[in-house]
């Protein structure tokens, strides 16, 4: 069937709008990349906008030579990979029972869980809890308190609930146990949402810096988000030091080095997303129902 003229116009419109939006989103990356690859002179004079001025990669060499960027990158990878694995397992374990109508007390549990999304004890009580479990200065202090995100849990629950009942019944007749049903039916059907959640968790762990600064005392265990944050912060400090507040000496890392660090931090996230997109396959569920 040939698309009508109206449909063609519509499709062209869709492509145009999306291209424009994508371009708009690309700008800051281009800007930062240009900053990172320009000379110090050009950057500090504010002459860099969308293209590198006096192209130079000295920011990157400086970054690799004078900061612990490699070890912080590998720390980031450890934190993220282990964190995502743990979080995914426990989020699934939390979401699945809550979708079963015969799981008694699920409304109470649901409310109890949502409640923790709205209320929190604040920094000190959380810190004391983690400390009393002797997790300070270990990555467990990052993984365990953030094990299950309520947001992600609710998303997963909603998706599992929407798995059509026919499948449910079909597999029950097969005599699937609860575990087998979860592993063999629910999870394969939930690949798109699982990929989404893995991404959400991954981004969260990758970007985490405040909890790292609070719960980790050993700088050798810092991740790249902390490194970048500390570099940017030295610039923020400058802003707060206006007036006569402090005669603290400043060590500013130049803006182009900061930019290079940001690029190094962001690129892995950019590379990983397209791989997850392949799990966004349409109609997985339908196939299962019919098959």
């Amino acid at each position: 069937m040939k698309p009508s003229i109206g449909e063609r116009v519509y499709l062209v419109g869709v492509y145009l709008v999306l291209s424009a939006v994508a371009l708009l989103c690309l700008l800051p990356l281009v800007h930062i990349a240009s900053l990172s690859a320009s000379s110090l002179q050009a950057v500090s004079a504010g002459r860099v906008t969308l293209f590198p001025v006096d192209m130079s990669l000295s920011a990157y060499t400086q970054l690799f030579e004078s900061t612990p960027i490699l070890s912080s990158l590998s720390n980031s990878v450890i934190i993220t990979v282990v964190g995502v694995a743990l979080s995914m397992v426990f989020t699934i374990l939390a979401a699945y029972p809550l979708t079963r109508s015969y799981f008694l007390g699920r409304r109470v549990f649901m409310f109890g869980i949502v409640f923790t999304m709205l209320f929190n004890g604040g920094l000190i009580p959380t810190y004391l809890t983690i400390r009393n479990l002797e997790l300070i200065n270990t990555y467990w202090s990052l993984w365990l308190p953030g094990l299950v995100s309520v947001f992600n849990l609710l998303v997963l629950r909603t998706f599992i609930e929407n798995i059509p009942g026919e499948i449910d019944e079909a597999s029950r007749i097969d005599g699937c146990g609860e575990w087998r049903y979860l592993l063999q039916v629910v999870l394969p059907l939930s690949m798109p949402v699982l990929a989404t959640l893995a991404l959400f968790y991954g981004v969260g762990y990758w970007n985490s810096f405040f909890s790292v600064l609070m719960y980790i005392n050993d700088p050798a265990k810092y991740n790249i988000a902390v490194l970048v944050q500390q570099m940017i912060q030295s610039q923020m400090m400058l802003a707060q030091m206006n007036g006569l507040e402090s005669s603290e000496q400043l060590i500013l890392s130049p803006e182009m080095v900061n930019s290079a660090a940001i690029i190094i931090m962001v690129v892995p996230m950019l590379v990983i997303y397209p791989f997850l997109q392949k799990y966004f396959v349409k109609g997985v569920m339908i196939g299962a129902v019919k098959g």
Binding site: V21, A22, L23, L24, P28, F103, V148, P192, V266
Partner: protein
């Protein structure tokens, strides 16, 4: 029974890492000091709340917080959905993946960077938009210094930064829609618009409602960085919110009892909003519990 087994670690997790610390909110009713600790600091009843609400600025700040947040939610909410639907129409896979990846990019840039870009675009002296504006109208316009245009920039920058990231969840939801429904609709001669209305949107409904309820839960947390980096003296009348105010009072680091009091107040407002939205959602069979 295996269900309960599955659930035990989860309950343990929520008790140990969520409910035990939540007990710490009692410091909102105490005059917390480090010497005596959480349990032994003296009780002061509602003094902290009284101190907070006794100042004339508090009402304005709460109003601003709610206003900015609701504006961001109401205006910003449809964008990820639209983006997801548009992406769903694309047949060229490489194009789809490229666009999808690019729109998710701004999520990773901190507000300090984004605000720098915004100033470059909208500054009065030699901003890009101001340049266009001047060539059209003949005079410059202080986009960053008028409440109306500032609000537009505020909401717009939030949409720009997060829409692509939020769209992911809708893209995942779209995979659940039975493609045969589209085929059927297409055979019936339904227009694209009708297909979206009668197939796509109903398919997304559950997710949309969930996202709305969750957004209500965050209504009192307007991102600190976004506002702090964007605000300036002339627009404080609309842009001073709870988090920036706390920062300015210098509560961030130390005045734990006051911070806890503010936090408790925020949580209560969020709870009420979530309860209301959830009740409405339940009418349509989509409630959280």
């Amino acid at each position: 029974m295996p269900l309960y087994l599955m659930f035990i670690p989860i309950v343990a997790f929520f008790i140990i890492f969520k409910y035990v610390p939540i007990g710490g909110v009692i410091i909102a009713f105490k005059k917390y000091n480090l010497m005596d600790g959480i349990l032994h600091s003296p009780w002061v009843g509602f003094d902290n709340f009284r101190l907070l609400f006794s100042t004339p600025t508090t009402v304005q700040i709460i109003r601003n917080t709610l206003m900015l947040s609701l504006m961001s939610i109401i205006i910003g909410f449809p964008f990820p959905i639209i983006l997801a639907i548009l992406l769903n129409e694309v047949r060229l896979m490489w194009f789809k993946r490229l666009v999808q990846t690019l729109v998710y990019l701004p999520h990773f840039f901190s507000w300090i960077i984004v605000s720098g870009i915004i100033v470059t675009i909208f500054s009065q002296q030699n901003g890009i938009v101001s340049g266009w504006w001047e060539s059209i109208t003949g005079h410059t316009y202080p986009f960053l210094y008028r409440e109306g245009s500032w609000l537009a920039i505020f909401v717009g920058s939030g949409v720009w930064k997060e829409a692509g990231f939020s769209a992911i969840i809708y893209l995942a939801a779209l995979t659940n829609i039975d493609p045969t429904l589209y085929e059927a609709a297409s055979i019936d001669g339904a227009s694209k618009w009708k297909q979206i209305r009668h197939v796509t949107l109903p398919g997304l409904q559950v997710t949309i409602v969930l996202m709305l309820i969750l957004a209500m839960g965050r209504v009192m947390e307007v991102g600190f960085d976004q506002i702090y980096m964007l605000q300036n003296s002339t627009v404080l009348g609309v842009s001073e919110v709870i988090s920036t105010y706390i920062y300015k009072v210098g509560l961030m680091g130390s005045q734990f009892s006051l911070t806890a009091a503010i936090g408790l107040f925020e949580s209560l407002v969020a709870l009420i909003l979530v309860l209301i939205t959830n009740t409405i959602a339940r009418r349509f069979g989509n409630g959280l519990w």
